[in-house]
Amino acid sequence: MAHPTVAVLERHLTLYKRLWRASLFSSFVLPVLFLASIGLGVGGYVGEVGGVPYVEWIVPGVLASTAFQMAVGECTYAVFGEFRWNRGAHAMFATRVSVWDMIGGWLLYIVFRVEIAVVVFLLVVGAFGVLSSPWVVLTPLVAALLALAVAAPVTAFSATIDHDSYFALLFRFVMLPSTLFAGVFFPVEQLPALVRPVAYVSPLWHGVELARAATSGAAPPWPVWAHAGCLVAFAAGGLWWAGYAFRKRLQD
C-alpha cells in the first residue's frame, strides 16, 4: 500500500504533467540567457573574482539563486490557495493523509521541481565549459538542501497568513535582500561589516557558498558542516512551523 506521503506527491505530479513542457523550457532558457548576457557581457568588465573568471564564479551563485526563487515562488500562492481558495488541503486532510504527509509530499514535489531545473542548468553551463571540479556532482544535493531550507518556512508562512497581500512583504523584505546580499553577484566580504550578518541569516548565502565550493572545488568561507548545518536548521525550523500552521488551519 502506497504511503500517503507518496499519494500526496503523486497529486502534485499529476498537475506537473500538464505544465512540464513549459517549465522545462524556461529551466533551459534561463541559464542560456544568463550566460549570454551577464556572464559574458558583464564578465568582460569584471575580469576575475577570487582567482577565477567571473563567469565561473557567478554560475553556482545563479544556480543556487534559481533554486531559491523557485522554492519561494512555488510555495506562496499555491500553498495559500490550497487553504483559502479551493480548500484542497481540507479535502486531503479528510482522508488517511496526515498533516506530515501533506507537508512531506509537498516538499518532495518542490525538491523534484528544483532538481529538474538544477540539472538542466548544470547541463547547459557544463556545455559552455564553466564547471571545473568533479565535486560538481554534489551540486544537486546542495540544491535539494537549499530548497528544503527555503520551501519549508515559506510553506509555513503561506499557511499562516490570512491575506495574500502579505506576500508583498515576503518578496520585498525577505526575498529581495537575501538575493542581493547573499554572495550571488559579488562576494559578501565586499559588504560593509555591518550588513554582512544579513547574508549569514539568509539560507541562500549558505547555499551559494556550498554550490560554489562544489562547482569550483575550493573550500567555502565557513566549514562545510557549518553551512550545511544552517540549512538543516532552516529546514527543521520551517518543518516545525509548517506542522503547527497546517494543524491550526485544518483542525479549527
Binding site: M1, A7, T14, L15, G88, T95
Partner: protein
C-alpha cells in the same frame, strides 16, 4: 466490528470557538447500518458537529468515539474508514473529474489499478462518465455535488458523513441525489447527514435529532417525532392580507393547538376536515384553507417556535 458497538458515540460533546459555544453538550449514538440525521436551522451547530465526527475538528470538551477510537489520537486511522461530503465542495479544480476520484483513492491507499477501476464505478454511480475528462469548474452545482459524494465513496467507507448534501440544488437534481443516497443505504452503508429540509430528513433518515442553538431538542424517528410533538394533521388557514393575530381568539379551541406564522395560521388537529368544518361553522371566511399531514417542519416549529427554512 461487533454489531453492538455504535459507530459514533458522543457524550457531552462541546465545540467552542473562543467564547462562542457552537455545540453545547450533545449525546449521540449511531448504530451500524443506520441513516442518522441532524435537522436544524442555520447556525444550529450541525456542521461543527459533523466536522468533529469527521475527525478534522477537535472537540473542546466531552467524549467522542468513532468506531470505538479516539479522534484526537487516531485521526488518520479513523478518517481512512470515513467518507466525507463537506457542506462546501472542495474538489480539486486543477484536476479532471476522473483524476479527482483516482487521486482521492490514492490518498486512501488504493493501488493505481484499484483507483482506476473504482473511479469508473463511481463515475457511473454519479452519472458523470461522459464528463470524466472535463475539469471540475464547468460542472453544474448538482454535478459537483454528485462528484463530491462519489469521491466520499472511493474508499468503500464504513461510515458516510454528508453535510447538507442537496442544499442549493434544483428539485430534479435533489431527487437524483436522494435516489443515489437511498441506494447506499440499501447496501447497508451507515449514513450521517445534516439538512434543513424536512422532506429530506423524512425520506432518508431512520432516526434523527433536531438541533437548535447547539443543543439537541428532540430525538427519534421522523414518525415518532411527529407523533410526539405534533398532531396527525395540520390545517393551514390564510386570511388574505388581514392582521392574523385578530383570528387567534376566534379560532381558539379548534384542534389541539394554533400557531400564527407571518403569512398563515396553523391549526393542529387529529382530523383536519373536522377542524375546517368548525372554522366555517364559526362564521370565519379564510381566503384559503389547506389540510395536510403533519411534518417535521411542524415538529420543529413546535419545539423551537421558529421555522426551519426562513
Amino acid at each position: 466490528m461487533s454489531g453492538e458497538q455504535p459507530l459514533v458515540r458522543a457524550r457531552g460533546l462541546v465545540k467552542r470557538f473562543g467564547d462562542f459555544v457552537a455545540v453545547d453538550g450533545i449525546d449521540i449514538d449511531v448504530a451500524p447500518g443506520e441513516a442518522f440525521g441532524f435537522l436544524g436551522p442555520n447556525g444550529a451547530g450541525k456542521s461543527s458537529t459533523m466536522r468533529m465526527i469527521s475527525c478534522v475538528s477537535m472537540p473542546s470538551a466531552g467524549e467522542l468515539r468513532i468506531f470505538g477510537l479516539d479522534p484526537v489520537r487516531e485521526g488518520p486511522r479513523i478518517r481512512g474508514r470515513l467518507g466525507v461530503c463537506p457542506q462546501l465542495d472542495n474538489l480539486d479544480p486543477d484536476l479532471t473529474v476522473r483524476e479527482n476520484l483516482t487521486t482521492y483513492a490514492r490518498y486512501f491507499g488504493l493501488s493505481r489499478a484499484q483507483a482506476r477501476a473504482r473511479a469508473e464505478e463511481l463515475l457511473e454511480f454519479a452519472q458523470l462518465s461522459d464528463r470524466a475528462l472535463s475539469r471540475v469548474e464547468p460542472l453544474s452545482g448538482g454535478m459537483k455535488r454528485r462528484l463530491t459524494i462519489a469521491r466520499a465513496m472511493v474508499n468503500e467507507p464504513d461510515l458516510v458523513l454528508l453535510d447538507e448534501p442537496t442544499t442549493g440544488l434544483d428539485p430534479q437534481a435533489r431527487h437524483l441525489l436522494w435516489e443515489r443516497l437511498f441506494r447506499l443505504k440499501q447496501r447497508g452503508v451507515t449514513l450521517v447527514l445534516t439538512t434543513h429540509y424536512m422532506d429530506e430528513a423524512e425520506q432518508l433518515c431512520d432516526r434523527l435529532v433536531v438541533m437548535d442553538g447547539g443543543r439537541i431538542v428532540a430525538e427519534g424517528s421522523p414518525r415518532s417525532l411527529i407523533e410526539a410533538h405534533s398532531s396527525p394533521e395540520v390545517v393551514e388557514v390564510r386570511f388574505g392580507g388581514r392582521e392574523l393575530a385578530d383570528f387567534v381568539a376566534p379560532l381558539a379551541g379548534i384542534g389541539d393547538r394554533v400557531d400564527v406564522l407571518p403569512d398563515r395560521i396553523l391549526v393542529y388537529a387529529k382530523d383536519g376536515d373536522a377542524a375546517v368544518s368548525e372554522v366555517h361553522r364559526r362564521g370565519l371566511v379564510p381566503s384559503s384553507v389547506l389540510v395536510r399531514r403533519s411534518s417535521l417542519e411542524d415538529v420543529f416549529l413546535h419545539l423551537t417556535g421558529r421555522t426551519l427554512v426562513e
